[in-house]
Amino acid sequence: MPSSDYDPASLPDLLPLYYRRLFPFSQYYRWLNYGGVQKNYFQNREFSFTLKDDIYVRYQSFTTQNELEKEMQKMNPYKIDIGAIYSHRPNQHNTVKSGTFQALEKELVFDIDMTDYDDVRSCCSAADICCKCWTLMTIAIRILDRALREDFGFQHLLWVYSGRRGVHCWVCDEAARKLSVAARSAVAEYLSLIKGGEETVKKVVLTDPIHPFIRESLAVVERYFPRYALQEQDILGRKESVDKVLSLVPEDILFTVKELQQDFQNEKKPESRWKLVRDQATKKQATAKKGQYFEKEIMLQYCYPRLDVNVSKGVNHLLKSPFSVHPKTGRISVPINLKELDVFDPFAVPTISLICEELDRPRAGEDEEKSEESKDKENEKDAAERRKIRDYKRTTLAKYVKYFDQFLDAMARSWKGELLRKSDLQKEF
């Protein structure tokens, strides 16, 4: 696929094209304006841009969609981050009396980064990803999406590919946007099971009773574990891996570890080895009061999502914007359609060079569209204007924007309700 033809040096040439003809401004504005339910919501939103030569500018804000477009087309940012909605327009924050400029609201966000799994994946490390370890992201999305919806009651979740090695989640419900720092931190802690840094060997410890949230999460992990961990990551294959797994069996069940090591000498198949581990755990669960859930703990340590609580905590925390370009890979941060999650391929995500190229390539059926345009004389819009609106539709970006539209449609229904309620209160006719 031509996606691999991306060269970071070409960004200065590609970005103007991207922002002029491809970036979905009207959908973007529709999102951040949130139906105009709250006054100045869009105007008080902070954006930050990373420009050429790593110049970083904060407290950017815009009054209209048009202004946003013009500025972005002028500055051609390499990266765009979205921040909070403040008490005043961010670009005027210096004129505001000290102490009164406050971050008020923002989506609840989560950032899952593949680097945080380095201690449990053998295929890649650091910024690299492959189709084998990508399953970790799939698992993370399934677990967190379920919990945020079913446990917390949130409905409007946007999952976005970060462009290189992870995913972000934007929870856009009104209740989510209004959460305090303490509440965000509590949500993130509730969702955290992996505790400990470099110095900790055993990062998951389960005690009785096992909370329903953990059970639900385990159910997801168990679906993926055989293929992901036993086959693809082969955690019970090579000796070093086996040792690592067995180091997670609690110390006071030492005899178990020795037994397993012996059994493994006769049993080489990973699935069978895992069954032996499970059988030992089942035995322990019948008798022991502590450390008896080690097979669950192992599965969780290898598969459970690792989130950075600090990203989710801060109301003013800046996070990479959807549809932003990743300067190193060229990939667009596209929304992920959860209905197609199991077949999502990060390497098939369009790069900026690909979609710019696709702009020039006429698609099949394009000729028909053109003749329709010329037929339609009563259309007020300029032909060039219409072509511009449809530009992204010629490219691989189209399906992602379409999915984004569906996401916005669902939210719009709730805005409508809000607006009606407000106008009722004001007795407008």
Binding site: D54, Y56, T115, D116, Y117, D118, D119, E150, D151, F152, G153, F154, A175, L179, S180, A182, A183, S185, A186, V187, E189, Y190, I194, K195, G196, G197, E198, E199, T200, V201, K202, K203, D208, P209, I210, H211, P212, F213, I214, R215, R306, D308, N310
Partner: protein, 482 residues
């Protein structure tokens, strides 16, 4: 409140009414006149009580037997209420007044407010645990917390989930008690620790656990009240009798924070490696080692270690050079460092952004905030590391075996990494002699010095934790110095 220097106007009857209940929300400020001497005494004693609450909270599980016994003792010693009883009226009055005085002292900054609220909430929790179920229910009503109880059918349907969500909830609990549906935002402590069943944004709380709701409510109200109090401060500060006392009170809690650098420039970069072996507490030694090995540290590590270095006397220029030279050895080129990392170092020294000159983290802060995760090296080894790994580390640093087993049994007491550095330097003959000592070539004494310093750290942990009152003693000397 109005203050008169001499007489107390006591209205005994209304006191009996006002202080009829053993626990209160401090919704209304005291309206009587009180003597200045009482004003001082009350405030200082409550501060001592809150300091004890803080220390006990780090060393023991809250509401455990040891915790409550010790807090009972302290409350008795300081003449504060701790149980319901008829003779408690005077103590409750003191409690009421002292709370409001401390509000004046602790409303001024975000840090002070956070500290004050945390201790008051813990104190409240402890006192609330002594109330009967009936009294607890009364509180709910007093608060106008109208949460809905779920139907019997719904309880039955959710029975398994409810039992499995909380250690304290059994099948019998579900049958016998009402369960309330509370929005999760009102029960954050339960959500954070996953001690409750959560569905569609609501937590399901048995009657017996209503305390958490009340605590949350108390915390929110206090927070709002403090914000309001801050606005009326100028009027209070204009009273010359009060201002010096209030200042004392709000500085006392911080202790020494090492924010004012006393030895800027006295440390050279070449000394850091050997200093890290001799005089750095274990957490900083760990960070330093990780930095040297990986030529990188993540944000949490950079903050904890960077501020510590500032505290021991590194200047901004030195710090920039230090971090830059190390990062360049890794994957970061000079350009990238200047763009991405230099900013945050200057930020630490108060040269960027809102220009706050950040203070080096105390042990409390290191232990309680921002626990390390995968890829991190910050935190407190005595709290955040595997016991086995910690043992190994201490052995490597030549702590005696008896010292190691002591550490294993002991819980660490409050201190400050920079305090460790200062004390260690003193012991090794530091102060002005630091440079001289470093210049002389390696001596055999250096090795034993390293081991004994580490042993001293472990021993210090052992000793200090048995004398929690040390902290309150420091407080006394603070006031005497004034």
């Amino acid at each position: 409140m109005q203050f008169m220097s001499r007489q107390k106007k006591l209205l005994p009857n209304s006191h009996t009414e006002l202080y009829g209940q053993c626990l209160q929300f401090y919704g209304q400020p005291p309206l009587e006149n009180i003597a200045l001497s009482e004003f001082e005494t009350f405030a200082v004693e409550r501060l001592k009580l809150l300091k004890t609450v803080e220390n006990l909270g780090v060393s023991y599980v809250k509401l455990s037997e040891q915790y409550t016994k010790k807090l009972d003792q302290e409350s008795k010693n300081l003449n504060f209420p701790y149980r319901s009883g008829p003779s408690e009226i005077e103590k409750r009055r003191k409690d009421h007044i002292s709370h409001f005085i401390l509000r004046l002292a602790y409303c001024q900054t975000e840090d002070l407010r956070r500290w004050f609220i945390q201790q008051e909430v813990d104190l409240f929790r402890y006192r609330f645990s002594y109330l009967s179920s009936k009294q607890k229910l009364e509180f709910l009503h007093k608060n106008n917390l109208q949460y809905d109880a779920i139907s019997v059918e719904e309880k039955k349907a959710l029975q398994d989930k409810l039992v499995n969500s909380s250690y304290a909830v059994s099948g019998i609990t579900v049958e016998d008690q009402d369960f309330y549906k509370v929005p999760f935002q009102d029960a954050l402590d339960l959500v954070r620790t996953r001690k409750v069943y959560l569905k569609a944004g609501y937590v399901y709380i048995p009657h017996q656990d209503i305390v958490t709701i009340i605590l949350n409510d108390f915390r929110t109200r206090l927070s709002k009240a403090l914000a309001l109090t801050a606005r009326s401060l100028p009027a209070v500060h204009s009273d010359e009798r009060l201002q010096p006392l209030l200042n004392h009170l709000s500085h006392a809690y911080v202790g020494q924070d090492y924010s004012i650098q006393k030895n800027v420039g006295k440390i050279s970069l070449e000394q850091i490696d050997s200093l890290s072996g001799k005089s750095f507490p274990l957490c900083m030694r760990q960070l330093h080692q990780a930095l040297r090995e990986n030529h990188h540290l993540r944000h949490g590590g950079r903050m904890q270690y960077g501020l510590f270095l500032k505290g021991i006397g590194l200047s901004l220029e030195q710090a920039l050079q230090f971090w830059r030279s190390e990062f360049i050895r890794g994957k970061v080129d000079a350009d990238k460092f200047d763009k991405a990392y230099a900013y945050s170092i200057r930020h630490m020294f108060g040269k960027e952004g809102k220009r706050t000159d950040y203070t080096p983290y105390s042990c409390m802060k290191v232990i309680l905030s921002n626990p390390p995760s995968q890829g991190d090296h910050h935190g407190c080894p005595f709290r955040h590391s595997d016991p086995e790994l910690l043992k190994q580390k201490l052995q490597f640093y030549k702590v005696s075996p008896s010292g190691i087993s002591q550490v294993g049994d002991i819980t660490f007491s409050l201190n400050h990494p920079n305090q460790y550095f200062v004390e260690s330097q003193k012991v090794l003959g530091g102060g002005k002699d630091i440079k001289r000592e470093m210049d002389t070539p390696q001596r055999s004494q250096e090795n034993s010095g390293r081991g004994s310093a580490a042993a001293r750290e472990a021993a210090a942990a052992a000793n200090a934790s048995q004398h929690l009152a040390e902290m309150t003693e420091e407080l006394d000397s603070f006031f005497q110095d004034a």
